[in-house]
């Protein structure tokens, strides 16, 4: 059997430095676990634009389609703010999501015991929090046509279109129900069915799919109330399913609740390939954080845990994933903290690379 293949796209900002730590982990698995990956590395985002004039070349796109999994760091930065919309760094990431058809974006919001104090929320509100937001990732207002800035009369008009087909809603809801079955068997679907027809359809389809999952308790919530309830009492949720745009805001809010933003991985999964595994892209929830890039301040854990998700969902190595997650917990329990995990209490943070080394040592 050939080695499993991995495309690594470090991207911009802190992407390369957190990815360097993941490389150490990947090497460890090659040496100690007889799990060697065929790794290729390439550019995405602003750095790809700098070199090729596009945030994602066709060659990189083709390679992403060929490999078993893609691991991405982060894209974007103020340097690219004035670029034309069509070549913005983000378009590289969006092209990957769209052309690989990665419709189900799993975003766990988990509060790590060792870090519960670090949340801006009261400890009892977030301690033990463990929810997953399943965000639709390949449709909705991110991709709908018509879109653009047009001239009308004497002024410009900015247009975007939210567009959801029945089958698009169905498949992501199905993923969410499947996930709920393996977890606490509670699913909350969020939309604005009181204001948007696309939300009306969403609610109908979620309800219909729910008939195939009688063991899962399905509820519906308007997305604005969802934003409130996440702040008020996030532990009321188990799995949340929502559209691309609501998912963008709600998953970021949920991630911030945990106080562990630098710790949170994500998986974006598509339809099964020939080998039965889904097309997949893994990336940390945090962004490119250009303000701290290159200073050894970034927390590599979110990216390392994204690789753990890859082990689990793309490579059927659940045990290895757990070993890696265990190593992360061990290191935190030892008290190691990157700068983002420290309050004002004057402890010395470890660098990005020291954190990576410690996790490898704990393995």
């Amino acid at each position: 059997m050939p080695n499993p293949s991995l495309l690594i796209l470090p991207g911009d900002g802190i992407g390369p430095e957190v990815m360097a730590e993941v490389r150490k982990v990947i090497d460890w698995f090659g040496t100690h676990r007889n799990l060697t990956f065929d790794v290729t590395e390439d550019l995405v985002g602003g750095c790809a634009y700098d070199k090729h004039g596009t945030p994602l070349t066709d060659e990189t796109m083709a390679q992403a389609q060929r490999v078993d999994a893609v691991l991405l760091g982060a894209v974007g930065g103020p340097k690219y703010d004035d670029l034309d919309f069509s070549v913005k760094p983000e378009r590289g990431l969006l092209r990957l999501r769209k052309e690989m058809d990665l419709f189900a974006n799993l975003r766990p919001a988990q509060c790590f015991d060792a870090l519960a104090d670090f949340s801006s929320l009261k400890k009892d509100v977030v301690a033990g929090l463990d929810i997953v937001i399943v965000r639709e990732l390949t449709s909705g207002i991110y991709f709908g046509e018509p879109r653009g800035i047009i001239e009308e009369g004497n002024e410009r008009v900015g247009i975007n279109t939210q567009r959801y087909t029945e089958s698009e809603i169905e498949r992501v809801c199905r993923s969410a129900f499947e996930l709920a079955m393996r977890r606490g068997k509670k699913l909350c679907s969020m939309e604005k069915a009181n204001v948007m027809e696309s939300g009306v359809l969403w609610r109908q389809i979620a309800t219909e799919v729910g008939k195939d999952y009688p063991d899962v308790e399905l509820s519906h919530m308007y997305a604005d109330n969802g934003a409130m309830q996440l702040v008020r009492n996030p532990k009321q949720f188990d799995v949340i399913v929502t559209d691309n745009l609501f998912g963008d805001l709600l998953s970021d809010a949920a991630a911030m609740l945990t106080g562990s933003l630098g710790m949170l991985p994500s998986a974006s999964l598509g339809a099964p390939m020939e080998n039965g595994r889904p097309k997949a892209l893994y990336e940390p929830v945090h962004g490119s954080a250009p303000d701290i890039a290159g200073q050894g301040k970034a927390n590599p854990i979110a990216c390392i845990l994204s690789f753990a998700m890859a082990l689990r969902y793309s490579f059927d190595r659940g045990d290895d994933a757990m070993a890696l997650e265990g190593a992360v917990e061990a290191v935190l329990a030892q008290g190691l903290r990157t700068a983002d995990l420290l309050g004002e209490d004057g402890k010395d943070p470890v660098t990005t690379s020291e954190m990576g080394d410690a996790i490898v040592a704990a393995l």
Copy 2:
């Protein structure tokens, strides 16, 4: 001079019971302050549908256009969940906003000292919080065409359109800058210019309008990051301006941060009328809370403070507004709490009506 006129629309759920307390306050101003309003009262939302088959009759709409200000309770409830989209309770409210052209929705998120402990956030994160979200209210995806559920191939497709003209963006940004001038002179504009062209236009216009307000420090933030930052450190903001849909989610999240949801009023303002005052509708931020309706548990303060906003913005009675706000604070300082403002600590809550009486007494 004729009396100033007021249209009262209690609406559904707890709307009527909180509005009954506002009526006591209005009466007090008539008796003690020589400020008598010509008050008419009518139906909106589910109750209007029950009686007339529409959530807002043309007659009520015409009356809303005639009066100096509209005061609304809340609309909606599960009883109306299966109604056709076009007659849902919410459409009554949306019609008022649209036809009165109330483009600037001011939503203060203020943390009352006496209630800081009640937030799910740590006290130091929210104590003293005082920000205002200016939400665009008459355009965007709430109203854009085309919209609906269509058949395409063998399936249904849900469609909504985000559409913003230059002048729509400009006028709401101008309102936000004006407000920032009267406050802390900081304005943060939120959109998704990295993903949506309507956000690109929004950012450009906000920047252009900013040239007329050199004293205001303008910043831009992606809305997903905005959701995070509101949770992480809301006090970094003064005034936030954003579109209709983002504003819906972000203002609800912001309101919940304060722990004072039952306390928060809002004002929706349009263009100036002949008398120089803006068309205006005032309503509490909270919804119709059907689960507690009719039990005397609702907190009337948000609706009473909405009337205080009316005194200030529609009737030039800033002193009276302050007197009313002072009465609310006095009552809270005395320890009076409706059920929503109590933790598990076993104190006895006062009823909706007792709270209203106490505020009138404090006046």
